[in-house]
Symmetry: C2
Subunit: 339 residues, 2 copies
DNA sequence: AAATAAAATGCAATCGATTGCGCATTTGTA
DNA sequence: TACAAATGCGCAATCGATTGCATTTTATTT
C-alpha cells in the first residue's frame, strides 16, 4: 500500500550528511543549532514534504498532547456545546481532543475511560453516565495523577476539579418564580437521584416551597429518566392525581416540551392553566410556542473552562483542586408568565 | 510527578524471568505461546495493573487506530449527529475518533487536517469549511493513500468516497411542493455557491420553476452565508422588492426560522401570506410554531455510513470509490401548508 | 538411544523522535 | 601565543511494543 514511506528526520539528516539529532533540534528551534544550519534543514524538510510523526514524539515524551472528553451523548446540544468550547481552547493550546459517548451506560463508560488511559490522554474531561455507579475507572486517573475534570455531572467522592452550575439555586429560582406567578401547587419531574445535579435541583425546589410555607407533597415529584417519552408518562401521572398541579418544574427542557405537548393535546392551556419551566436552555426552548422558561446552562463556556483548567493542570501550573460553580440564570418566557 | 511509572511488558517479563517478546505475544493471544505461560503472564499483568501503551504499539504498527473527523462546527445538530453516528460505529470497531471544528475557516481547516496527518490518523472524515477554496491539504491524504471520506460538503475535484444527500432533488421537491400549494412567486435564500450542496439546492429550485413554466427571476435569489443574522437581512431584501415573493425556500432551517421571525414581526402571516420551507430538519423545526416544512437529512446515519466506509477502506477490504447519495425526504409541516 | 520433528521461547532490530553527554571547532581574552 | 570559554554538532540510549529469525526445549519416531 504505502509505496513511498513518510520521510523522517533521518532522511533529512542523510540528505544533508548531518545527524538526526541536529535535525530534531533544528526543527524544534533549539538554540544549540546555528541559524544557518536550521535554515538548510528546514528547506530540506519542506522539499521532502516532511511531517513530524507525533506518535513517535509522544512516545518519547511520554505525553500525547491529547485531551479525552467523555459525554453521555454527543448529539445533544448541551454536550456538543461543551465539546465545542473545549475543542476551541484545546486547539489553541496545541492539544487534540478525542471524544467518546457513553450512551449513559456504565459499561461503555468504563471501556471508554480505560481505552483513553491506554491511549495515554494527558487529561480527561467527563460528565458521567446516568447509569454509572462505581467509579474505579475514574479513580484510576486520580491514582495515576492524570488530570481529571468533571463537568455538570460530577462524582462527589472523587476529589478533583469540577465545573458545574448551581443546580440548587436553579431549582430554587424556578420554584420561587412559579410561586411569584401565583401558581399554588407545583409538581416536579425529577431526574435520577444518583446524580447530584438532579438531587440539587429537587432540593432547591423543596427549599423554595418550604421558604414560602407551602406544604411539600411527595406525590408531586415524579422520578424518571427525563427522556422525551418518560416525560410524557410522568406528566400523565401528575395530571391524573386527584389533586393535580397547576405548574410543573421539569428536570430538563426535553421533558418540559413533552409536558407541553401532552397538556396541549388535552386542551390544557399553558401558561394559563398550567405553568411550565424547564432546565438547560436548549435552543428549541426559545423558539417553541409557547416559549419555555428555563435555566441557562452555558455549555460552550463550561467546555472552555474545563479545557483551560485541565491544561493548566497538565502543564503543572496548578496543584489545588477547585470547583467552579457557574451562576444559574432564570430565563423567563411565555410558558410560565401569567401575570 | 509520576512517582510510579506505568508497568510495561518488560516489567512483566522481569517478574517472570522470561522475555518481553513472550509477554507481548501472550497478551496478544499468539498461538505460539503455550496456554500455561499465557495464564501466568496475564495473572502478573493484572496484579501489576498493566495497561498496554497504545502509543508504542501504534508507532510500531504504523497505524493509530484513530479516525479523524472534521466538521465546520461541532455544536450544530446536524454535525453533532454525524459525529455521534460515526463514533458509534468506530467505537464498536475498536477505533478512537478525534474531532476538530474548522469554524468554517479555510485556514483552521488546513491546520487541523495537517495536524491530523501528523497524528497519523488512519482515515479522515470531513465536511469542508464554507470558506475553503484550495484543497491541497486534502489531496495530501489522497496522495498518501490515506482513506478520505467526504460527507455533506464534498469536493468534486477530489476522487474519493462521498456521502451526500440528493440536494438537487431536495431543492426540486421543496419548490414543487410550494407550487402545488399555490404559491406563485417563490424566493430562495441560497448558500455560498462554492459548495455544491447549495448549488444543487438552487439548481433543483430553478429546475422545478422551469418545469412548471414559471419565469426565473434572479432578483428572487439572495446569496448569503445562511446564518441567523444574514437570514434576517436576506429576507428583508426579498420582502422589500417591488414585487416580493409569496414563498421562500430557505437554504437551511436556521434561515427559515429567521425569515419566520422577521415576517411575524412585520405582521405577515405564515403560511397564509408567505410560505416557508427550510432544509435539514433541525430538531427545532418540528417544535416551533408554525412548524417548519423541511428536508430530512439523517445525520446520524450519514455518520454511521461514513465510518463504515472508511473502516472498510482502512482494513483494505475495498478499493473502489463510491458516492452514496441518501434519498431526500420532504417533511411537510405547517409553514407551507395552506391547502 | 539417537535422530527428527514439533513446540515454546528468546534475541535483537525496528518504529521515529528526543536528549544527556561528550567531542571538536571556533571565538575570546590575557 | 596560549589557554579558556563558547559554540555547534554527533553518538547512542531511550520511550514501549512488535516480529523475523534463531535457539532451546519437549515430544515423537525409528
Amino acid at each position: 500500500m504505502n509505496k513511498n514511506p513518510e520521510p523522517t528526520i533521518h532522511d533529512i539528516a542523510k540528505e544533508l550528511k548531518i545527524s538526526a539529532s541536529t535535525v530534531s533540534r533544528a526543527l524544534n528551534d533549539n538554540p544549540r543549532i546555528s541559524l544557518k544550519t536550521k535554515e538548510k534543514i528546514k528547506a530540506v524538510a519542506d522539499s521532502l514534504g516532511y511531517r513530524p510523526n507525533t506518535l513517535a514524539s509522544n512516545l518519547r515524551n511520554k505525553k500525547s498532547n491529547t485531551i479525552g472528553i467523555v459525554v453521555p451523548l454527543i448529539n445533544r446540544y448541551f454536550f456538543s456545546s461543551v465539546i465545542s468550547g473545549a475543542e476551541d481552547i484545546a486547539y489553541k493550546a496545541g492539544f487534540t481532543v478525542v471524544i467518546s459517548q457513553s450512551n449513559d451506560l456504565a459499561s461503555k463508560e468504563i471501556n471508554i475511560v480505560q481505552s483513553m488511559f491506554s491511549n495515554r490522554v494527558d487529561g480527561l474531561i467527563i460528565s458521567i453516565a446516568m447509569q454509572a455507579s462505581t467509579f474505579e475507572h475514574l479513580k484510576l486517573f486520580r491514582k495515576k495523577n492524570i488530570p481529571l475534570v468533571f463537568f455538570d455531572r460530577a462524582v462527589p467522592e472523587i476529589e478533583t476539579d469540577k465545573i458545574v452550575v448551581d443546580d440548587f439555586a436553579g431549582g430554587f429560582r424556578v420554584t420561587q418564580h412559579l410561586i411569584d406567578q401565583g401558581y399554588q401547587r407545583i409538581g416536579h419531574l425529577a431526574g435520577p437521584q444518583n446524580l447530584i445535579i438532579y438531587r440539587d435541583r429537587k432540593n432547591g425546589y423543596i427549599e423554595a416551597l418550604r421558604k414560602n410555607g407551602i406544604d411539600y407533597d411527595d406525590k408531586l415529584i415524579i422520578y424518571n429518566r427525563l427522556t422525551s417519552d418518560e416525560g410524557v408518562t410522568a406528566t400523565q401521572q401528575l395530571m391524573s392525581l386527584s389533586n393535580p398541579p397547576d405548574a410543573i418544574f421539569c428536570g430538563n427542557d426535553t421533558t418540559a416540551l413533552s409536558a407541553m405537548i401532552y397538556l396541549r393535546n388535552r386542551g390544557i392551556r399553558i401558561p394559563e392553566d398550567v405553568g411550565i419551566v424547564g432546565f438547560s436552555n436548549e435552543p428549541f426552548s426559545k423558539v417553541v410556542s409557547p416559549s419555555i422558561s428555563t435555566i441557562s446552562q452555558p455549555g460552550f463556556e463550561m467546555g472552555q473552562k474545563a479545557a483551560e483548567l485541565i491544561i493548566r493542570k497538565i502543564e503543572n501550573k496548578e496543584r489545588t483542586y477547585q470547583t467552579i460553580v457557574l451562576p444559574t440564570e432564570l430565563i423567563v418566557r411565555e410558558s410560565s408568565t401569567r401575570k
